[in-house]
């Protein structure tokens, strides 16, 4: 066992002892964590049908700040939660960088361990989110040594920097100049303008300290070209193919076929006004990201350009959203079926006969900024639950109507779930799931009354409400029957682990908390090491041992 792991175990034991000695403390921590889990799973920071963006952001920020105040170690570990959204990773990174560690206070994670988590988050986040975060840190003047190091390492250490340079030039420039400061940025620009052999010794030293130390030696020339390009020095004879392509595309559109679609489209609108957007799409269709391939289908059809899209590369919610926009096809249906089967294999609850009640009232349409996402998520989860049933599944839809053109269920009408629940109960399920945002008005509380009466009739099967929407006014998910059913957040059919962590916390916080933290820490380390292996980064011998070490016992819903 490595020294680091021994220290970790000691720290975890202390944590466990502290929780065991105080039931109140354990409960308080668990409650904070539960609230956080709701937010982490499904908050997007955007408006919902019922709450404005400001309300959602305030609720989200509050949940993060409260957990950070409990223990920054526990908070950092939340990055490793299965199903934690990119947005929550972004928030964790920002909160941890923004709040300095207090020397006199002890935390669950040491400073080095916390740095490991921060670095891991940076590797996980899509570059768009990472850059957005760095720019917002610049605006908030978060400029401590840890933040600067993280920015420089994340940007300059990436093998994707040449691509990013052509795509996110302005944001990269802002992030780097924030990390270096205005003066150092000017100095570096001046040094990089000079040919390599004309640089003075002290200039080479500065370049090494500020830029080159973040990348392997054989990448030095490429890195210098990229940084120079970002700050406006477009060399005609650049060695980096993408940077050369960018330069050449200004005179010949065809030379830009290596560039991302949006970059070449930008160059076309400036330098080739006589050429069409469809030509750009044709030229760059091989460079499209998965997200662009699905998002540009309509445009591709209009432009008569064939953009291949593999439905299996998208999650089920995205496929449902695509079907809402473009109509359901056999191909999408088949992919959805396969996705549901895969997700069902990971689902922690085993049941023979599953009842599913889908709320399709108007509010499940969501806000315009993420239109139809709640119902799309619910339908994806509904498919998965049907596949998870060992014998059979029954589905009841409350409200909504089927659109004749797309053949999709459109959310519509008031929220009346009670009769649907009774119809399901009559079919004799052994587990019941209600997919709903938790807003009921025909009338409010009716579902709870029906559940109460059903319990009196001796129907004791577990009932879970799975909610795809954060309710800002409830600071989490909103329950249809708070004292009678478990209410869990869901963001995707294939990521159901997180909601069941919450269920576990509700039942036995003192046991669940240390187990959860240990699991998350081990999981994070393994993920990080596995990633190093994938990207061919050298592993230390201790790291190899840890990667090959047996997994800690997995948590089950029953535990």
């Amino acid at each position: 066992m490595t020294e680091a792991l021994q220290l970790r175990n000691q720290s975890m034991q202390r944590f466990q002892q502290a929780l065991e000695s105080s039931v109140e403390q354990a409960q308080k921590t668990a409650n904070t964590l539960e609230q956080y889990l709701d937010i982490a799973a499904i908050s997007t920071g955007r408006a919902s049908f019922y709450n404005t963006q400001e309300e959602q952001v305030a609720a989200e920020s509050n949940a993060h700040a409260t957990l950070l105040a409990v223990d920054r170690g526990i908070y950092a570990l939340m990055a490793g939660l299965p199903g934690a959204s990119d947005r929550s990773l972004q928030q964790i990174l920002q909160h941890l960088l923004d709040a300095p560690r207090q020397a006199e206070q002890s935390y669950l994670l040491s400073e080095d361990e916390e740095a490991t988590v921060l670095a891991w988050i940076c590797e996980q986040l899509p570059i768009t989110r990472l850059l957005k975060l760095f720019v917002s840190m610049r605006q908030a003047r978060v400029n401590n040594a840890r933040a600067r190091k993280l920015i420089l390492r994340s940007i300059l250490g990436s093998h994707r920097l040449p691509l990013w340079c052509t795509r996110y030039r302005k944001k990269l420039r802002l992030a780097l100049s924030h990390a270096w400061g205005q003066r150092m940025t000017s100095i570096l620009c001046a040094i990089l303008k000079k040919p390599e052999d004309a640089r003075e010794k002290h200039e080479k030293r500065i370049l090494q300290q500020q830029v080159l130390r973040f990348a392997p030696a054989h990448k030095a020339a490429s890195l210098c070209e990229c940084v120079s390009f970002l700050f406006g020095n477009e060399a005609e004879d650049a060695k980096e193919p993408l940077l050369r392509s960018y330069h050449e595309a200004k005179s010949s559109l065809e030379a830009g076929r290596l560039l991302p679609y949006e970059t070449l489209e930008g160059l076309r609108s400036t330098y080739h006004k006589d050429r069409t957007s469809a030509e750009v799409l044709e030229l760059t269709k091989k460079q499209l990201t998965d997200g662009q391939k699905i998002g540009l289908q309509r445009k591709a059809e209009e432009s008569q350009v064939t953009v291949e899209m593999d439905p299996l590369r998208y999650d089920a919610t995205r496929l449902y959203l695509y079907a809402y926009a473009r109509g359901m096809t056999q191909e999408i249906r088949k992919a959805l079926k396969q996705k549901a089967q895969e997700a069902a294999g990971l689902f922690p609850i085993q049941a023979d006969r599953v009842g599913i009640l889908v709320d399709a009232s108007a509010s499940m349409a969501g806000h315009d900024s993420q239109a139809l996402r709640p119902i799309a998520t619910s339908l994806a989860v509904c498919d998965m639950l049907q596949e998870a049933a060992r014998i059979e599944a029954f589905v009841e839809i409350a409200g909504g109507r089927v659109d004749e053109q797309t053949q999709m269920l459109l959310p519509e009408g008031e929220s009346s779930l009670a009769m649907g629940l009774i119809r399901l109960l009559k079919k004799g399920p052994d587990t019941l799931f209600i997919l709903s945002d938790g807003y009921e008005n025909a009338p409010a509380g009716r579902l709870a009354e029906v559940i109460e009466q059903a319990r009196k009739l001796g129907l004791k099967m577990p009932i879970y409400q799975l909610s795809p929407v954060v309710a800002a006014e409830s600071a989490g998910v909103r329950s249809l029957a708070p004292t009678q059913i478990a209410t869990l957040p869901i963001n995707a059919a294939h990521q159901m682990g997180l909601p069941f962590f919450k269920a576990m916390l509700q039942q036995e916080p003192q046991k669940a908390l240390p187990l959860l933290c240990t699991e998350l820490w081990c999981g994070l380390q393994k993920k990080q090491l596995a990633q190093k292996k994938r990207t061919n980064k050298p592993l230390a011998s201790s790291e190899t041992a840890e990667l090959n070490a047996p997994q800690p016992p997995a948590m089950s819903a029953a535990s």
Binding site: E55, S361, M419, A442, R446, Q453
Partner: protein
């Protein structure tokens, strides 16, 4: 005076008297072309949606107009669109910028591509200086309890005419006695958000009958479902939501569920079929109680007085034994109506509801 207040088409008091309708319509006539939908019920508040098939898309809600103030008590609208903007009665603007928030004292019509200013508007944020800059601001509608005072003072050109009423309203909730409505909206933000969260605006919904504590307190009608959707949040949140808060605070905790909310019966449920039947019974009973409450009002005679005409649209003020409010009419067609229960009617009702004497 009226001409000055409402524009060149306004009529004088004498003209108003002459134009009072000879045949007094009833409340039912105002709801012509609409049918009730399924009631929504949360806590003390219930909403009966009014659904209509005929959308009059000549009209847009004020969220399509630019709004600003020019001096205190002077609210201006600019309609850059092709549709005529109808400004609902007591539309207000609580803005983020450091500016005195304002509200209208009456309904208004803004023709396409036109600007209109209203010097009868009211400041609703005492102690805050500054003018609202021109822009598309989020609208609200004055809290229900302030609407009658605003209605009575609709022709008065004094910017601070509502401050004493707002001050009394704030005092009722233990807030500072100031004519600053923001004190209320901030203090009860969470509750107000919850109200708007609970109720859903339905497709084809062009209006609503609102009940609080089992009593009809307001009737709203819009020209189209799009229009109604635009004003829905303002109606549910600030206007009726505020009244639901006030009502809940005035009642015992145990007594806040109104008589129109029928719980499931507890007895005689021995099977799921019994449970389904109990549910159907409760829902049918609930609908019937609410509809009876509305039916009781439908034949109430109402009196309307024409106040101004813009582009062939008449703005009329409505009075009945029970309701006050305004409507906008295009000849026989009612395009917009907003009615609220008068204080006098509520006092009468309170007297009726008081227990009879016994010894």
């Amino acid at each position: 005076m009226l001409k000055k207040l409402f524009g060149k088409n306004a009529k004088t008091t004498d003209e108003q008297a002459q134009s009072s309708k000879a045949s007094e319509p009833t409340l039912a006539a105002l709801l012509h072309g609409l049918k009730p939908g399924r009631m929504q019920s949360v806590g003390v508040m219930q909403v009966i949606p009014l659904l209509g098939e005929i959308d009059d898309d000549r009209f847009a809600a004020p969220d399509k107009a630019r709004v600003w103030t020019e001096g205190y008590g002077n609210l201006n609208f600019e309609n850059k669109g092709e549709q005529t903007v109808l400004v609902p009665c007591h539309t207000g603007y609580i803005v983020e910028e450091a500016a005195q928030d304002h509200a209208m004292a009456h309904a208004a019509v803004i023709p396409p591509k036109k600007k209109e200013g209203f010097k009868t508007a009211m400041c609703i944020q005492q102690t805050q200086g500054g003018y609202i800059s021109s822009g598309e601001h989020k609208m609200m509608i004055l809290p229900y309890a302030l609407r009658e005072s605003a209605h009575e003072k609709r022709q008065v050109e004094t910017f601070n005419k509502l401050w004493s009423d707002i001050s009394a309203w704030n005092k009722r909730f233990g807030l500072s006695e100031m004519g600053n409505l923001v004190l209320f909206t901030k203090h009860f933000q969470k509750q107000l958000d919850e109200f708007v969260a609970e109720f859903e605006c339905l497709p084809k919904q062009q209006g609503a009958i609102i009940l609080i504590g089992g009593e009809v307190v307001g009737i709203e009608r819009a020209p189209s479902s799009d229009f109604f959707k635009s004003v829905w949040s303002a109606l549910i949140r600030e206007c009726y939501g505020s009244e639901a808060i006030a009502y809940s605070q005035s009642m015992d905790k145990d007594a806040i569920i109104p008589g129109t909310r029928v719980p499931l019966r507890q007895e005689g449920i021995r099977s799921l079929d019994d449970l389904a039947q109990a549910l159907e019974e409760a829902e049918a009973k609930e609908e019937e109680i609410a509809r009876a409450e509305v039916r009781r009002l439908l034949d109430l005679p109402i009196q309307t007085t024409q106040e101004s005409t813009t582009q062939g649209l008449d703005i009329e003020t409505l009075q009945s034994e029970t309701f006050l409010g305004q409507l906008i009419r295009d000849k026989e067609r009612v395009c917009y109506a907003s009615l609220f229960l008068s204080k006098q009617a509520r006092r009468r009702q309170a007297w009726k509801d008081a227990p009879s004497f016994s010894i």
